[in-house]
């Protein structure tokens, strides 16, 4: 029971265990502390800390980013000052943004994620059966996931280097001429996508394989009894049952692909010229290379809005397909 007048008794709380006459804690502090003991579900108390961390390290920086995107805050003008929509106008009218960064990002997103999900699905289906050395194969398949994208970028840069690259040496040993991989927009972009596919396909394999393992056996048995072949089973049963998993992996990876930076930066720096500039390198260039944080923040906000729209479209499409199938 509470020993402080005016404070309601707290059943089973800290205050209830304090002996009468020994209370030195102020009522407000005691009330706050008692939140730890009372009937508040433990999960809320556990969430408190991550929520605080999220607030401090995610929500506040985003809010800060929004605020500075409306100022003229740069290293040479740290006092800033209200700039209205000037930074947004500068971003939107920058040819590097609308002529290169934006189209390249969507091409990269479409190609990289498309290839990765297709390969991931194919390989996951292949390893979802018993065969000798299955464990070793599965372990080897996920090894690229252990390589940081920036390291993968450097690896591919040196592999495709015009002078020292392994690939050109291989071509030379076959009597073929070397290719200047990073001198032409198409080949430079191709190598970037290849590096991304190498890095991220194992992630698709892993998640889709887990999805395959959790599928109910009954539809497959029914299909077998009905005489369905492997392709029909895959197309009409496996893939529809995997839609929820596929929608999530495509969504998460699309967000990630939209902000691709490290692989591009380490391999081409956005070049030759502006040919492989993506949204991530564009924001970095504006915000960090030129130390113009306000404009960089405005660019990041433009990107955030775009990726939200993309996310809604992708999720909406999948939701329609998934729910549509389930209803039918």
């Amino acid at each position: 029971m509470s020993t402080v007048p005016g404070v309601p008794p707290v059943a089973g709380g800290h205050a209830a265990r304090v002996a009468p006459g020994r209370v030195t804690v102020r009522p407000r502090t005691r009330r706050a502390l008692s939140w730890l003991d009372r009937d508040t579900p433990f999960q809320y108390q556990l969430i408190l800390l991550p929520a605080l961390v999220m607030l401090l390290f995610e929500i506040l920086p985003i809010v800060h980013g929004i605020v500075i995107s409306f100022t003229s805050f740069t290293i040479w003008n740290p006092e800033g000052g209200f700039a209205g929509f000037r930074n947004y106008v500068r971003v939107l009218e920058n040819p590097l943004f609308y002529r290169y960064a934006l189209p390249n990002t969507f091409i990269f997103l479409g190609l990289a994620v498309g290839i990765e999900v297709s390969l991931g699905l194919g390989v996951a289906v292949l390893i979802n059966r018993r065969f000798p050395g299955q464990r070793i194969v599965k372990t080897l398949l996920i090894l690229p996931l252990l390589v940081a994208p920036v390291v993968a970028g450097l690896m591919f840069y040196w592999m495709f280097h015009a002078e020292f690259g392994l690939v050109n040496q291989l071509l030379a040993s076959l009597g073929l001429p070397g290719v200047l991989w990073f001198n032409r927009p198409a080949t430079a972009f191709g190598v970037i996508i290849l590096a991304d596919v190498w890095t991220w396909t194992p992630w698709f394999i892993l998640i889709i394989y887990a999805g395959l393992q959790s599928l109910p056996p009954e539809p497959f048995e029914a299909a077998r009894i009905d005489g369905a072949g492997p392709w029909s089973t895959f197309r009409l049963i496996t893939v529809p049952l995997l839609y929820p998993v596929l929608s999530i992996v495509v969504l998460i990876r699309s967000f990630d692909a939209f902000r691709v930076f490290d692989i591009v930066w380490t391999m081409t720096g956005g070049g030759p010229g502006n040919a492989t500039e993506t949204f991530g390198t564009f924001v970095y260039r504006i915000g960090y290379l030129t130390v113009n944080w306000s404009e960089g923040a405005a660019a990041a906000m433009v990107g955030a809005v775009m990726i939200m729209v993309v996310g809604i479209l992708v999720y909406g499409t999948f939701a329609r397909v998934v729910w549509g199938k389930q209803e039918s």
């Binding site: 003991d37 433990f42 290293i75 040479w76 430079a188 030759p272 010229g273 502006n274 130390v291």
Partner: protein, 434 residues
């Protein structure tokens, strides 16, 4: 879980997080008597850090020097200047950043000014010096002595093409090589521009914003001299095939080092601070045959051979406690006054010491240094290698992109690419409006 367990658990967790946060917020100096130095790994800075450690022993402090990658350096410094945590007490600073970092640095009146003012004026803020130069980094043309005789060293662009072809005829894969991607443009386009009476902005050679405004600045990238210089590079790659196409895809200075030390190039445009690395037998296949000369001049050149040599310095961030700043300045004063540390800039690395006194001594005693000095600091046309206003990195980056775009496209489109660059300059350059 009982109430008591729950409370203990949450309280311990909370205390742990608060403790970690408090520890992280402690300035480095409070954790010991260390001065933390921000630098990037480079032979010249490594040598300087070694000397700092020697000096620190005498002044009773420790040196903590976590290396920072070049690409992250400016970001790390902006966090130092504007963030709540003053992590570094001494920072590497160079001429490019003099005006960018200036407002955040403590004046260094107490440090002995051993350097020449004409190489350090851009390191002043509100009239006071904010940096102590340690070395002048200067561009040179390295060459293979076994392929090119000293009396055949090229003095003009045309002679360079011929010398490169001759060397290739002797079996070396490429004639010339240099960095072209951002931020390595000094080692291809920039030196050749300045050697050919061309510049990014007109008036030619103006470097501060005031100088440009006084001269009624315009982009210089569509001028005949500029376009001709880019065309010379295009021909070097595509017509004469003396330069590797890697230059057109934005090669870095590391590519140059790798190719030169592997014996694949006759002439490499680099910083003289790579001299002793190139002569290191453990790293270089051509260690015994490394020579250097100046840059060749282009057909439009009017003032003779061009040389650039600009400072790399040390500075003390303003947002440090007074006693720490005092210790940092004492150490920098010791370093700037130490003749042996300055001599090692040349003997161990290949750079030009910033100390005028040491320069004079080396000119008297070391013929090879004398030659380097004459080719760079003492060149008939001495240039500063950057623009000294905050948007220089953006201009540098835009130029690098346009250069690689011009080199990867058809020759007849070079002027078109440069016209687009001029438009970008007009849009992005005007500092006062931004």
């Amino acid at each position: 879980m009982t109430n008591l367990d729950r409370r203990t658990f949450l309280a311990t967790l909370g205390a742990g997080v608060a403790g970690t946060a408090a520890l992280g917020a402690l300035p480095a100096t409070a954790q010991g008597k260390a001065l933390t130095v921000a630098y990037m790994p480079h032979p010249i800075l490594n040598s300087q850090i070694e000397w700092m450690r020697k000096g620190a022993t005498q002044t009773g402090v420790d040196i903590d020097a976590p290396a920072i990658a070049y690409v992250d350096y400016v970001q790390a410094m902006t966090a130092q200047f504007l963030g709540p945590r003053n992590r570094y007490q001494i920072i590497w600073n160079n001429d490019d950043w003099g005006q960018l970092f200036g407002p955040f640095l403590d004046p260094l009146d107490e440090v002995k000014q051993a350097w020449a003012e004409d190489r350090a004026w851009m390191m002043r803020w509100s009239g006071k010096p904010t940096a102590a130069p340690a070395v002048l980094t200067a561009g040179v043309t390295f060459y293979r002595k076994d392929l090119v005789a000293e009396n055949e060293l090229p003095k003009t662009f045309d002679e360079m093409v011929e010398a490169a072809k001759k060397a290739q005829a002797k079996g070396v894969k490429w004639g010339i090589m240099g960095g072209s991607g951002f931020p390595h443009l000094w080692f291809t386009l920039l030196w050749s521009l300045w050697s050919n009476n061309a510049d990014l902005f007109k008036p030619f050679g103006a470097r501060s914003w005031q100088q440009l405004e006084r001269g009624g600045w315009t982009p210089g990238v569509t001028e005949k001299e500029f376009v001709d210089t880019v065309t010379w590079w295009w021909d070097a790659i595509h017509t004469h095939k003396i330069a590797p196409p890697a230059i057109a895809s934005g090669a870095s200075r590391t590519d140059t080092d790798a190719m030169f030390m592997n014996g694949d190039v006759a002439f490499a445009f680099q910083d003289s601070t790579l001299l002793q690395t190139y002569r290191n037998k453990e790293k270089s296949k051509v260690a015994d045959n490394v020579g250097f000369t100046g840059f060749p001049t282009g057909p439009h050149n009017k003032k003779g051979r061009m040389g650039w040599a600009d400072n790399w310095s040390w500075s003390v961030p303003k947002n440090n406690p007074a006693d720490t700043k005092k210790k940092a300045k004492q150490l920098l004063n010791w370093l700037a006054s130490n003749k042996d540390a300055q001599k090692e800039v040349w003997t161990k690395v290949g750079g030009i010491p910033s100390s005028v006194e040491v320069q004079k001594e080396l000119i008297r005693t070391d013929p090879e240094y004398k030659r380097l000095h004459e080719l760079t600091v003492g060149a008939p046309q001495a240039m500063h290698s950057a623009y000294y206003w905050p948007l220089w990195p953006e201009i540098h980056s835009l130029t690098s992109k346009a250069f690689t775009q011009a080199l990867t496209g058809p020759k007849e489109k070079i002027f078109e690419v440069m016209t687009a660059l001029a438009r970008d300059f007009k849009l992005r350059a005007p500092v006062p409006a931004r």
